[in-house]
């Protein structure tokens, strides 16, 4: 279980300070599929980076299975069982797809096992296993490989930052299946940042983040009808004015 308690984060320049995350609290229960949604620039990716330890909060705390991990670095959190698929996957000259999967799994994966992870994200494994993770791969291919590295880690909590970005519609259904299988296979908790209706539809619960704050959270059945009535930014303002705050 992941717990965020009163998390605050901001950036400071010489002459200005900006609050990006303002007193955010929520829980990702065990074996649940939670989706964070909300308008661009609302602080969603920052939240994911705070959870992974890439950014440090100004105040508040983060607990994983009851243990306070706020002071821990990225490596320690990874070892405790958090995985993170970046919104913009990183490229490496000379490192092959199979190397990345081996590093992710923490063991000498056989080529066969590595291929399974790639097939699961809809890549023809044979064509990719020895490709370099460099600029020769397209954005969509990089996204799938990024998701495959999270699969290979098999941790209890996986955080995905907009996994659907760059994935073609044709492959979308199989991506949904990846998340569903993942949850079943390792009894994992999944936290996804997404704008995609079809991802929201398979969530156990949905958290709406706007302007660095939780503007609504609840079960899919509670949240989805409101969110679907309009485009997200409009929804936010309506939620602010209307009754969605009751869900908090």
């Amino acid at each position: 279980m992941l717990e965020l308690k009163n998390l605050c984060f901001g950036v400071e320049n010489e002459d200005s300070a900006k609050e990006i995350i303002k007193d955010v609290s929520f829980v990702v229960p065990d074996e649940k599929f939670v989706v964070i949604t909300g308008p661009n620039g609302g602080g969603k990716s920052t939240l994911a980076r705070l959870i992974m330890g890439i950014e440090k909060p100004r105040s508040g705390s983060i607990l994983l299975d009851g243990e306070d991990i706020t002071a821990l670095g990225i490596t320690e959190r990874a070892k405790l069982g958090i995985s993170f698929a970046l919104q913009q996957p990183v490229r490496f000259k000379g490192i092959h797809v199979v190397d990345l999967l081996r590093l992710a799994s923490g063991k000498q994966l056989s080529v066969g096992d590595a291929c399974e992870y790639l097939s699961a994200v809809g890549l023809c494994a044979r064509d990719y296993i020895n490709r370099e993770v460099n600029a020769s791969l397209s954005g969509g291919e990089m996204k799938r490989i990024e998701i495959a590295t999270v699969l290979a880690r098999g941790t209890t909590l996986s955080v995905f930052d907009e996994p659907e970005a760059g994935i073609d519609l044709w492959s979308f259904q199989s991506l949904i299946q990846v998340f569903e299988n993942m949850q079943k296979r390792v009894h994992a908790s999944i936290l996804i940042i997404s704008h995609q209706e079809r991802i929201l539809e398979i969530a156990d619960s949905i958290i709406l983040i706007a302007d660095g704050q939780v503007r609504g959270q609840g079960s899919r059945d509670e949240m989805l009808p409101e969110l679907m009535k309009s485009t997200v930014p409009v929804t936010c303002s309506r939620i602010l004015e209307g009754g969605m705050n009751r869900a908090q």
């Binding site: 990874a78 000259k93 092959h96």
Partner: protein
């Protein structure tokens, strides 16, 4: 007989754990330590200066020549001249390389001057690895000079590797290509401590449809310094590409000087050069996989120099 140190050096530079198959010449501390010629590959000592002639008969296929050099004596300095004559239609692998173990306080140096005369329609792969080790104050110095004359329709692939322990090196490579000839060079270099490495390529595309691709990947750590110069000259309908990609760390210094010269309107030449530190997001990505910062750095460098 080779000493244990010399055997270890051989394993480092030529992946040799026992006597190689095929033709070979092993030079240890300035003396011949083993030689084998085959029906198609003849190795003979030069009579006017130190070094050997390697003659490969036309049409020789799938054979290899190993000519490693190991130095384990402190203070030894030598210049060796090796000439390769590769006949028409050959397909061969040539593995050179030099390992110096210097535990003394005097400098040890090996300067290898290699000259390749390659006939028509041949295919040659040349691998050269440099390695140094030892605890003494004496430096390990290597200054290789390589000349390659590539005949009509022949292709040469050169892999130049220097990953560890060579304190001072100046590498000069000159290649001249005839009609339809092709040259591919992959250089990989890592310097650390106070090491200095200089690499200088000149490639002349003299024949119609000749082409060259000269690529260097290097990592400069600590206080080491590197200078990479690559000059491609197009004298005919030809294509040339040169690329220098360097990772700079700590207090190191890297200079990249790509140079193109077109003397023919149909010569198409491209250069790329990039120097930069390891990207922060690369480290972060590998740390999210459970690696520590230094493990992440090591993986990135290993991949880059692969």
């Amino acid at each position: 007989m080779l000493s244990e140190i010399q055997k270890r050096l051989l394993a480092e530079i030529a992946d040799l754990h026992k006597t190689p198959e095929g033709a070979y010449n092993i030079r240890a501390n300035g003396k011949a330590a083993g030689r084998n010629s085959t029906a198609n590959i003849d190795i003979s000592s030069k009579t006017d200066k130190p070094g050997i002639d390697i003659r490969i008969r036309p049409g020789t296929k799938n054979e290899s020549v190993h000519i490693p050099v190991v130095l384990s004596e402190s203070g030894l300095k030598e210049i060796v001249y090796n000439d390769f004559f590769v006949g028409d239609d050959c397909d061969v692998v040539i593995v050179a390389g030099c390992g110096i173990s210097n535990c003394g306080d005097q400098d040890s140096a090996h300067d290898g001057v290699h000259c390749f005369h390659i006939g028509k329609n041949a295919k040659v792969k040349y691998v050269e690895k440099h390695y140094g080790e030892g605890t003494g104050r004496g430096r390990r110095i290597m200054n290789p000079r390589t000349e390659v004359y590539i005949g009509e329709g022949s292709s040469v692939e050169m892999e130049m590797v220097q990953i560890k322990g060579v304190d001072d090196t100046k590498r000069e490579t000159l290649a001249k290509l005839e009609k339809g000839a092709r040259l591919v060079v992959h250089e990989r270099l890592l310097t650390h401590g106070d090491q200095r490495a200089e690499s200088d390529y000149t490639v002349e595309l003299n024949g119609e449809n000749s082409s060259a691709d000269v690529v260097s990947r290097s990592v400069a750590k600590e206080r080491s310094s590197q200078l990479y110069r690559s000059r491609i000259v197009g004298n005919a309908l030809s294509s040339g590409h040169t690329e220098c990609d360097a990772i700079i760390m700590d207090k190191a210094r890297v200079v990249a000087v790509p140079e193109l010269e077109a003397n023919d309107i149909d010569s198409a030449l491209v250069h790329e050069a990039a120097i930069g530190k390891i990207a922060g997001d690369q480290i972060i990505k590998l740390m999210t996989l459970g690696l520590t910062e230094s493990e992440a750095e090591e993986q990135i460098i290993n991949g880059f120099l692969r």
